[in-house]
């Protein structure tokens, strides 16, 4: 739809994955004037990417959790919320003002409330050679399957750890692809430490998640997919652009695997670029190995007008995110006086109970799939900043020469100054800084996020004046 150059809204929802859908639908159905924006051309987020255009056979292959996106997306479409896709948010202010860039150019909007539902990104998994064409994230390969119905041809190596790696491998198998090798970096010690969290993982919806994971592993075994555990020292060499070789150590032996495609994955972390640019307070989570925006029980951030729901506030998965969107909506409606106290309390308690059921297995999963130290702090030869081509060795050298943290490394080496604005190298700069400065991750600074958060041309900036 065409957005006016400027407008006022009761609430602006950023992102239309599960959390944004849950929030925008609930707010609009309750009578608020809601604007929901998404940079993608259609709703669903990465989890339900392409849900409106995927033919039934593709949706069936992707499984019931993908197909579960049909109803929430249809309900968002049917709600009175104003939806604007292919619309990037490039600046937000604590008073609820947001600056957008869409097909009609730049527009400025003000929301009495902002709901950030920016979802998750894959944890950057740098290793030597991760910049070669043919190496993507495993999640990226899965997006190509969901959105475009594309399956890699030729030997596929999936390396790293985390549930998505197995899910995508199983989806490949379901699509008839069997030349898949899983190089699992999960350390046996991580699995042992995770056992302490097993009792809690067996409560709520935990058994459902664990059964699904076991089912995936059994399906891969049944189809004879080669699965190696305790993989370390990953390196990817490129012969030509169509021939890769993955080198690693397994059980003390050097191994190598030819590949046409490599999918890397080391779990997912909240996408906090926007909440950080807004200067919302964030806290380090040792369990998630990431910074999370601080939130009150109604998912309000440290800024009164700004709420954060779904994976953007801490990884909980799609179903939890949908409920979190509804929880934030409930808190917003309550603060607007549209729901009486008792009713709000009752609804919010019910939603929190549902969220807790989905949270039950998380400590177990987070501990089991915690990335190894060499992933967070890669060897010197590894390119850390893909944009400006800065190695881990150069970054360590800058730190030894007195760089005070990620922002000074950026000034010294341009790492984090390229087009991705530090989204990819930022977590690694932070981890390397913590390592060499000898500080805890929670006490180590992170890259400062500044607008424009998405590309805007000088001409568009200049046109703002008129």
């Amino acid at each position: 739809m065409t957005l006016p150059a400027t407008a006022q809204w009761d609430a602006i929802v950023v992102g239309t994955g599960p959390a944004g859908i849950g929030g925008a639908t609930a707010l609009a159905e309750a009578g608020l004037r809601v604007l929901a924006v998404d940079e993608a051309p259609s709703p669903g987020g990465q989890i339900w990417r392409g849900i409106e255009t995927a033919p039934p056979s593709r949706a069936a292959l992707l499984g019931p959790e993908y197909q579960a996106g049909h109803d929430p997306v249809a309900r968002l479409r049917a709600s009175p919320a104003t939806l604007s896709f292919a619309t990037a948010l490039w600046r937000a202010e604590p008073d609820g003002t947001v600056w957008l860039r869409g097909a009609q150019g730049i527009s400025r909007h003000q929301g009495r409330h902002l709901l950030l539902a920016t979802g998750a990104m894959e944890r950057p998994a740098p290793c030597p050679g991760w910049d070669h064409p043919g190496v993507t994230t495993a999640g990226g390969l899965q997006i190509l399957l969901k959105r475009e119905g594309l399956l890699p041809e030729g030997p596929l190596v999936l390396a790293g750890t985390g549930p998505l790696l197995y899910l995508y491998a199983a989806q490949c198998v379901a699509a008839g692809k069997h030349d898949v090798t899983l190089l699992d970096s999960c350390a046996p010690s991580a699995a042992l430490s995770a056992l302490a969290h097993l009792p809690r993982a067996l409560t709520g919806h935990g058994p459902r998640y664990l059964a699904k994971g076991l089912g995936l592993l059994l399906a891969l075994r049944r189809k004879g997919i080669s699965h190696h555990l305790g993989v370390r020292g990953l390196r990817i060499l490129s012969g030509t652009e169509t021939a890769l070789t993955v080198h690693c150590r397994i059980g003390g032996r050097d191994r190598h695997f030819p590949a046409a495609h490599v999918g890397l994955h080391e779990g997912v972390i909240p996408e906090t670029h926007l909440s950080r640019a807004l200067a919302c307070a964030h806290v380090w989570s040792p369990r998630a190995q990431a910074f999370l925006p601080q939130r009150d029980p109604g998912l309000r951030s440290s800024l009164a007008r700004v709420f954060v729901a779904g994976d953007a506030g801490g990884i909980g998965g799609a179903q939890s995110a949908l409920f979190e969107g509804q929880l934030a909506a409930c808190a917003i409606l309550h603060s607007d006086g549209r729901i009486p106290d008792a009713e709000a309390r009752r609804r919010m308690q019910a939603l929190r109970r549902e969220i807790a059921k989905h949270a039950a297995p998380r400590p177990f999963l987070d501990r089991w799939y915690r990335p190894r130290a060499e992933v967070l702090r890669p060897p010197d030869e590894t390119l850390v900043c893909r944009c400006e081509e800065v190695s881990a060795g150069a970054i360590r050298e800058a730190l030894r020469s007195g760089a005070a943290g990620p922002n000074q490394i950026k000034a010294f080496l341009r790492s984090g100054m390229g087009p991705c604005q530090g989204r990819t190298c930022g977590p690694v700069l932070h981890a390397l800084s913590a390592e060499l400065l000898g500080r805890g991750p929670g006490e180590t600074p992170v890259l400062t996020c500044r607008d424009p958060l998405r590309p805007v041309s000088v001409g568009e900036f200049a046109a703002l004046d008129s």
Binding site: G134, T136, E148, G149, L150, E241, T242, A260
Partner: protein, 103 residues
């Protein structure tokens, strides 16, 4: 690096133009998807060392698939829906100053 389409009968009636070569695309394709389906393995060369690059994250986060699309520099191929007649070129090394434009 090749991909195949899994849908039974993708409609490939429309085309983008990649450096003069017509490339068919299906409904829902991004520029990145259409190029990968056509076996294009290098999307750009880097400004610093000239190394070849292709999409990495496919969700708009890593900016490694930057291309020149309909004359505009630095567009993310993975976030740009393919449209009929669209002209797409690789970004080669550092972009020239003074020619930058975004539609």
């Amino acid at each position: 690096m090749r991909f195949r389409r899994i849908d039974p009968a993708p409609s490939l009636a429309h085309q983008i133009h990649f450096e003069g070569t017509p490339i068919p695309f299906a409904e829902g394709d991004t520029v990145a998807g259409a190029l990968l389906a056509a076996g294009i393995g290098t999307f750009r060369t880097t400004p610093v060392t000239g190394a070849p690059r292709a999409p990495y994250c496919l969700m708009g986060s890593c900016f490694d698939c930057l291309m020149r699309i309909d004359g505009a520099e630095n567009r993310r191929a993975c976030m740009t829906p393919a449209s009929n007649g669209m002209r797409v070129e690789r970004a080669r090394g550092p972009r020239p100053a003074g020619e930058e434009r975004m539609p």
